[in-house]
Symmetry: C2
Subunit: 307 residues, 2 copies
């Protein structure tokens, strides 16, 4: 039975590339039939990666049948996976996020979670010497995943391993990292095709603090002004998305990749209170606040949130 390999429901570059990498490894190296799947439409950066390395876009699925053998990558959170995920036959988990609890397996399986920036970094280590067999497209996907998740090594989630592996891959491929990363980030910054609600949900994680639930959304971009020009519409859409998704408030952090800062939207008093308590800043009457140095939701936003 073919193993399905997939990441989370909002496929960014790592959650699109890592399933392709692992499906290649299982099928071409280990001789175990495996195919990548996506749980949603890839974002514009992920679509750029597929195109640049001539990789086929994996089939998008919403559900996975009970009993299907699967490998879960880039998440261990049941909320980010299809309903009934525990009824599938989970054969492995490869991830770099905190353990959320909730996934269960029927027997002992391979689980590898490491505090590095990127799933592809862990895969590179697991594949080991067999990387010699990897086609250019697989190496290109790996490089793309690492540059994306580390924001070209700017994110504080970046480890020495992520950086060393990306540089080795780039040299092997003859890719100029700054030029290639700039292309990737330009692709990610092209959000013209997305509605306001889509932007608010594109890269988002739910989080509870002080008895309130938040959808904590980030938009990583080299062109923050493009997003911020839609500020009024985005703020108007926030309560609609919050109600539809059953949370108290949507937060949006527009991450300026090149200048390494975030602009947080301040639509109301609750958000203002949260921003001031969490980031030791004063919002005044402004409807945005700039947070210097803040680029990582995992390391700098979520751990600081308080009311």
């Amino acid at each position: 039975m073919t193993i399905l390999v997939f990441g989370h429901k909002s496929p960014d570059t790592d959650s699109t590339g890592s399933p392709i990498i692992w499906a290649w490894y299982l099928s071409s190296v280990k001789g175990t039939p495996a195919e990548a799947r996506l749980l949603g439409e890839p974002n514009t950066e992920a679509a750029f990666m597929l195109n640049r390395w001539d990789l086929e876009k994996p089939e998008i699925v919403e559900t996975v049948e009970a009993g299907t053998p699967v490998v879960i990558v880039d998440t261990n959170n049941p909320a980010e996976l299809p309903e009934g995920i525990n009824d599938t036959d989970i054969t492995a988990i490869i991830d770099h996020h905190k353990l959320v609890g909730g996934l269960e397996t029927k027997g002992p399986i391979d689980i590898r979670i490491e505090p590095v920036a990127c799933t592809a970094t862990i895969m590179w280590k697991m594949i080991g010497d067999d990387m010699a067999q990897a086609p250019k497209a697989i190496k290109g996907a790996m490089l793309s995943c690492i540059l994306s998740d580390t924001l070209e090594f700017r994110s504080p989630t970046t480890t020495q391993e992520d950086s060393a592996i990306a540089h080795a891959l780039a040299e092997d491929l003859g890719v100029d990292i700054p030029a290639y990363a700039a292309e990737m980030f330009a692709a990610k910054s092209d959000v013209s095709a997305f509605s306001d609600a889509e932007l608010l949900r594109m890269d988002s994680k739910e989080y509870e603090v002080g008895g309130k639930s938040f959808r904590v959304s980030v938009l990583e971009t080299t062109s923050p002004e493009t997003v911020l020009s839609r500020k009024a519409d985005l703020m108007e859409t926030m309560p609609l998305v919050a109600e539809e998704d059953g949370v108290d408030q949507v937060l949006l952090f527009v991450v300026d990749i090149l200048n390494e800062e975030s602009t947080m939207l301040i639509p109301n008093a609750l958000t203002k209170q949260l921003a001031e308590a969490s980031f030791a800043t004063a919002c005044g009457d402004a409807d945005t606040v700039v947070l210097p140095g803040v680029v990582s939701r995992k390391k700098q936003i979520i751990p600081n949130l308080k009311l």
Copy 2:
């Protein structure tokens, strides 16, 4: 702050040896202060290992203070760990059991779970070339863990990796595996010091099937007749233990290591029904039933239980 390394609440050889191995690796190789702890009295085989390799018995603790940095080995089940385990600072998990769900971490950490027979096998791979620095006692503990968890390679949980690593360690140490394993199993078989209730709880996992809850206990021994001579008392004690522990029924499988079979006690109609449905056997009026080839709770008992 010193990292505490511990396994589960019923310390067998792997759950006693693996914390010692990992605390050695962290403190002596990685330069991170770490100490092993036990969550209960080690069983007689684990005590034999400590004595044979001149290892200090780790301090036994019942609770771990919130915020303490810990490494959890040989389990990922909160029920087998101190209350409030999620309030400690879990820095790593190394295990070979199925993912139960329930452990949560505050940030991304190192998690390594593999479907091998023994935690020490995974540690050997993680330590890699640094094994050259390991003192004899650490290698001896590793060998003991693997021989214990694989029942000297008899258990169907044994993988090629467990076997290869044990043989490499034995050769390195100049240990004759059959002779050493016989000593270990003789130590495990000496249950004279334990009360009936202690025997029923010594190596036990709770499991639900058909709406009933069971405490599924195994006793691995080279001398099944020693345990079975206490059959009447054990059966009399079963309902008391079941009531105290809040389960419907205690099951006891006396695993004959050398003859690779189990004797299951049949104290009542519920147990008889379960045995006949699970193991395609007929109990007749006997108060025990022999299950040929059955030695592994994980692979052969739990997955087959039905009512």
